[in-house]
Symmetry: D3
């Protein structure tokens, strides 16, 4: 792939995943860190995320786990919980993942992530969570 093709594939991959929230983050980097923005698209989505070895649902589940464990990544969790819903994870599955996170990362980090999920679900009219 040429550099241009990588960016295009990344952009297309990102658009299939996110309905605006990730794109807004990328755009807001334009006047401060355009190279970081370019690398997130070209490398993060064009080279890594677009690989077929894991389907998007798997990648989003994994990402929610990593962001919860890192801590302090609530803005990214908000984007990725939205993306997770877009690629087929149900609210009940996301909440179940965060219950499991309590055992591996402790209740405080699980709570922080759960309240981000509550915000995202609320904005999409998905509260109360069915089956939770």
């Amino acid at each position: 792939m040429t550099e241009e093709e990588r960016y295009e594939l990344g952009f297309k991959t990102l658009n299939a995943l996110s309905d605006g929230s990730a794109q807004k983050v990328i755009e807001s980097l334009g006047d401060v860190a355009p190279e970081l923005a370019r690398q997130i698209v070209s490398w993060g989505f064009g080279e890594v995320y677009s690989r077929p070895a894991l389907v998007p649902r798997d990648r989003q589940l994994l990402t929610i786990g990593m962001l919860t464990a890192l801590g302090g990544c609530e803005p990214q969790l908000e984007v990725h919980i939205g993306n997770a819903l877009n690629v087929g994870l149900t609210p009940a599955e996301i909440i179940e993942a965060l219950l499991q996170a309590a055992g591996y990362c402790g209740f405080p980090k699980a709570l922080n992530a759960t309240f981000v999920a509550k915000k995202v679900f609320g904005e999409r009219g998905l509260l109360p969570v069915a089956g939770a």
Copy 2:
């Protein structure tokens, strides 16, 4: 203990410790993660916290240390610094713990926790901290 007894013991333990702030967190989980709420009460407080091997003052001191070290857990620190006051830790002892945290976790995390303590103490009319 039956499941119901565990929940009741947890609820009673939590009420002896916290005058509303922890309970509010639990309630706000109701429509998004009721199982997480139930486990915090039944397991966290009914099974673990209620064990007699450490008194509540010890547990709160420990918890303040862990939350400061984890980072990004300011909402939980707010609840637990309040609980710490409820079970007999003085503002000066809490501030001393956070001074020690500077040496083990670094000044930035100690500062974040100290400003949470300032907020909690301020709401209870405990500023300036006597003896600090």
Copy 3:
């Protein structure tokens, strides 16, 4: 569930998942922290892991992400990468998850986890990783 039933369900869940490594960790706690051992089985596996809302493959993918992000959890990663293989994740999928982890947790944590995976795969005769 009674306490005994929870423990039995946890034990059964754990045995379906792990062929000895997790059990060895539990046993080694016997003389130092028997209550922690009991809670990992009864609560971690009996109450949380056994819930049907996520299948074991999903739970292991999530756990690998969380342990990689936390850092310093190589002993647990070794157990859980083995468990991941036991419930159907392929070596190539695990390696792909760790490539994605590079973007979210940075290369150093991804490398630490990858070298644990190399050890586990090597012990099972799964090197070189097919399709990686």
Copy 4:
């Protein structure tokens, strides 16, 4: 050095570095944690920072890297990115450091730090970043 001399050196070092933001943090500790305030000045700046073995530009570059990696230290990053500009790091160098941080700490932590930089640069009229 006597205790008074350490404090004076720390105060002078801090004033050469920061045009008000660090001082404001120190002052706001006055009624809650005066000893922590004193130790940050006397020890952090009087004993450690004032040592000649690394110049302030080096120390600020290092500090930005550490605060980005720790996560959850956005208030401290805001102070130290301002200080970094004061001692000669350019906006483009700070942004380049945060691009490198993406590889070592992952994109989420790099993004959190970059948005703090955007705020600081914006307040100083340094957007868009020249050469970025």
Copy 5:
């Protein structure tokens, strides 16, 4: 206090707390980082730890919580669990603290700390833990 008095107080405080393990760490810094060694004694123990606002038992309980939460600090945990025993925390209290840590930091970090405790207790002939 003069610089010499601070060092002497720190040295005396450290000797009352630790029967050799902390001292060995300090000594091993001699050829690589003598200033770091001096600051741990003068500042960490001479200025902070020696303050009367918290008794040593409280400080060690707090430190065990912080080191468990930070992760990757097993060498320091080994020293501080030994110190904790020296100042009156019982093995059962330390193990109870680590059970509580499971809820706040997750099982993996609690396990890592528990196996350090097992090592320290074993070397002192304190296994199996009475009352655990």
Copy 6:
């Protein structure tokens, strides 16, 4: 740049920086995670590290700070402290950076990094550290 050019630039950049230790890590990934190896070279060194906006000495100082703060990255610290020496940081500067790290990340993480530095310096005959 074509993909091949990126890899070549990364390889050349890495060889100018590291005299074998980083290359050994890359090679050891060959049978388990060849894509991760390729991305570290092509992206980490070919795209990011080779950018002229920061000189290698700055990048290594920054990296040592980040790895110390992350914790649990001793294998990477070993490689990068060696690289830091290769690009002109002196042992005394590296040790000074780790003294500053004590204030931002706490003594335990600073100690872990300092003992890695001691190992690297010892292997190169640089102990005791001149001027430390």
